[in-house]
Symmetry: C4
C-alpha cells in the first residue's frame, strides 16, 4: 500500500472521529429553562473543544511523521490502524468526561479514564515512530540522524507525560482537563513540531 | 502541509458535518398517528434545510478563500481547524433549534444560541481571512489589491450581521430562522461571491 | 470549482449517508429473548438493504451524469447541493419506515413519507440534468444530441414513477417497499444506465 | 467507473464504518460508581477492538484484491456495493454482541448473529473475487494463474470457516469472540495475504 492511500484513509478517519465529537454533547431535556440547560452543558462544550484540538493537532502531526517515512510496510500499516483505533475511541471518554463534570459525579474517574485513553494513544504514536525509525527502517534518507534520536526521546517522554495526566486525574478533574488542553497547545506550538514541519515542507 | 491536503481534510469534515444534520431530526414516538407526528416535526425539517444550505455554501466559499492563498503556514492550518470546529458544532444548535420550535418552549433561547454559534463561525472565517490576507501574507500574487480590502470589509461586516441575528433571536425565533435562510441565499448569490468564483476559476 | 472537487465531496456525502443507514436499525431492548427481538427487526433490515441499494446506485449514476458535463457553473454546484440534501435525508424516512413496519402502526404513512422523499429526490435529479443539458449548457461536446432528449424524457418519467410510488404507499406499505427495491434494480440494470456507462467509460 | 474512484468511495465507507464502531459502546448510566460502570463495559471495548481489527484488515485486503484487477465492470461495481453493505452493517451486531455479553443475556444468540453477519460478508468477498477472477475476467495479466486457483480455494475455505464460527457461537459466546479475533490476526498475517501484498506492491 502506498503512502498516499494510507494517508487518505487516515485523513478520513481523523475527519470522522473529529466530527463525531459533536454527538457527545447531550441534548437538553428541559426546554422550559433552555438557557440554564444550555449553560449547564458547559463541561461538554469544554471537553468538545479540548478533544477537537487534540484530534486536529494529531492529524497535523500524523502528516509530519508519515512524511518522514520513505515508504511503509505491512507492520507499519497495522501499527497505524492501532493508532487510529485509539483516536476513533476518543469521542467515548470525551462524552463521559463532559457528562461527569456536568453531573458533578465521577469527575475524577472520568478524568483518569480520559487520560488513560490518551496514554494508550501516546503509546501507539511511540510504537509507530519507534518501529519506523529504529535502524532507520522506514525513514527517508534525508532525515537527519541526530533528530531521529531527539524525536524518539520526545515520543518516550510524551508517554510519561500522559502517564502523569492519569495521576493528575486522580487529584482533580478540572486540572486534568486543563493539562490536556495545555498539552494540545504544546504539541501545536513546540519547537520539535516546528522542525518537523520544516522537513516535510 | 500542502493546500490539497488541507482542502481534502476540510472537505471530509464538511461532508460529515452536513450529513450528521439528519441525526438532529427526532424520531417519532407515536406511530398510531404517524402523519401528525411527522408533520409536527416540520421545524426540524426547516432547521435541517437551513443548516444544510449554510454548511453547503460554506463549503463552496471555503474553496474560494483557500484558492486565493498561494500557500499555507502552520497558523493558517490551526485557524482552519478552529473554523472547522465551529462548523462541526452546527448540528448541535440545529437540533436544539428544531426541538425548541416543535415544543413551543425556549424558541428564542434556541434562536439566540444558534445565532451565537453562527457569530463565532463568522469570526473564525474573518480570522482566517484577515490572517492570510493582511500584508498579503498568504495571498496569491494575482489577487487584486483593491479586492483584498473589499473582502476584508465584507468579512468584518459579516460578523456584525451575525451579531445582529443574535438580536433578532431575542425578538422572534421564526424571524431569526428566516434571516439565517436569507443570509445563506445571500452568500450563495451575492456579487462578492461572484468575483471570488471568477478568480478561482 | 472543478468537477473533481465536486465529485470528491459528493462521494464523501454519499459514503457517509449510506453508512449512517446502519444507525436506523433499532437496538434490541429485550436480551432475554434476543433471537426473537432480532427477528422482529426484519423490516429494519429490509429497509436498510433497500435504501443502501438506492443510495449506492445513485452514487454510480451521479458519476455518470457529472461525467457527461464538460464543466460546472455555480448554479450546477447549488443544484448538486440540493440533490445531496435529499440523499442525506434518506436515513430518516428509512428508519421511520422500518420502525412502522415492525410496530405494525402507521405503515402506510411511513411508506408515503418514504416515497415522497424519493419523489423530491427524483425532482432534484431531474433539475440537475435539465439545467445542465438544456441548450447543452454544460454537456460535453461528444454527448450525442438524440440521447440528450432520451435522457430528459427518462428523468421526467422517473419523477412520475416516484409520484406513483406515493400512491402505492397509500394502498400497501409492503408493496411500496417492494416497488422501491424493484426501481433500484431497474436503475442498476436498465439499458439507459448502460449507454450512460458506455459513454463515460 | 475507474478503479481509483471505486477505491476512494470504498475507502470512505470503510473509514466511516470503522469510526461508527465507537457509537456501539453504551454510555454509562450510573455516574456515582463510574469506575464500576466503565469496567462493566469491558465486553463493549472487546467487541469494539475485534470489529475495528476486522474492518481495518478488510480495508487492507480490499486494496489488495482490487489491485489485482486490471479494471472493473458494472457487475463488479455492484458486487462491491453488496460487499460494502455487509461491512457498513458490522457496527450493529458489534453493539448487540457487546451489550449481550455485558448483560449476561442472549450472549450466544448475539455471537451467532455476529458470526452470521461475518459469514454473509465472507460470501460477499468470495462473490467479488470469483466474479472478477473466473476466466480471468478482470484479472491483471501479470497475476499468476496458479495463484488465482489458490486464492479461489482460500476464499471458499474462508466462507466455510465463518460458517464454523456460527457453530462456535451456538456453543460459547466468548470462544466465538476469541475465534473472530484470531481470524482477524490470521488475515493480517497469513502467507496468502503476504504474496498478495507482494504483487500489488
Amino acid at each position: 500500500m502506498g503512502k498516499a492511500r494510507l494517508e487518505a484513509f487516515s485523513d478520513g478517519v481523523f475527519a470522522i472521529a473529529i466530527t463525531l465529537l459533536v454527538l457527545t454533547i447531550p441534548t437538553p431535556s428541559d426546554y422550559r429553562h433552555l438557557s440554564d440547560a444550555l449553560l449547564d452543558h458547559w463541561p461538554a462544550y469544554a471537553t468538545y473543544v479540548v478533544s477537537f484540538a487534540v484530534i486536529g493537532i494529531m492529524w497535523v502531526n500524523h502528516h509530519t511523521i508519515v512524511g518522514h517515512f520513505a515508504g511503509l510496510d505491512r507492520n507499519a500499516v497495522y501499527l497505524n490502524l492501532a493508532l487510529l483505533a485509539t483516536i476513533v475511541f476518543v469521542p467515548y471518554p470525551t462524552g463521559v468526561f463532559g457528562e461527569a463534570l456536568q453531573r458533578g459525579q465521577g469527575e475524577r474517574t472520568a478524568a483518569v479514564f480520559y487520560s488513560l485513553v490518551m496514554l494508550v494513544n501516546a503509546l501507539a504514536w511511540a510504537a509507530l515512530w519507534v518501529y519506523g525509525s529504529s535502524g532507520r527502517r522506514l525513514l527517508a534518507p534525508e532525515f537527519p540522524e541526530e533528530q531521529r534520536r531527539t524525536a524518539t526521546a520526545l515520543f518516550t517522554l510524551g508517554a510519561f507525560v500522559y502517564a502523569a495526566t492519569v495521576v493528575v486525574g486522580f487529584v482533580n478533574a478540572y486540572a486534568c482537563l486543563a493539562v490536556h488542553a495545555a498539552l494540545a497547545v504544546y504539541y501545536a506550538l513546540d519547537p520539535v513540531a516546528r522542525w518537523v514541519t520544516r522537513f516535510t515542507g
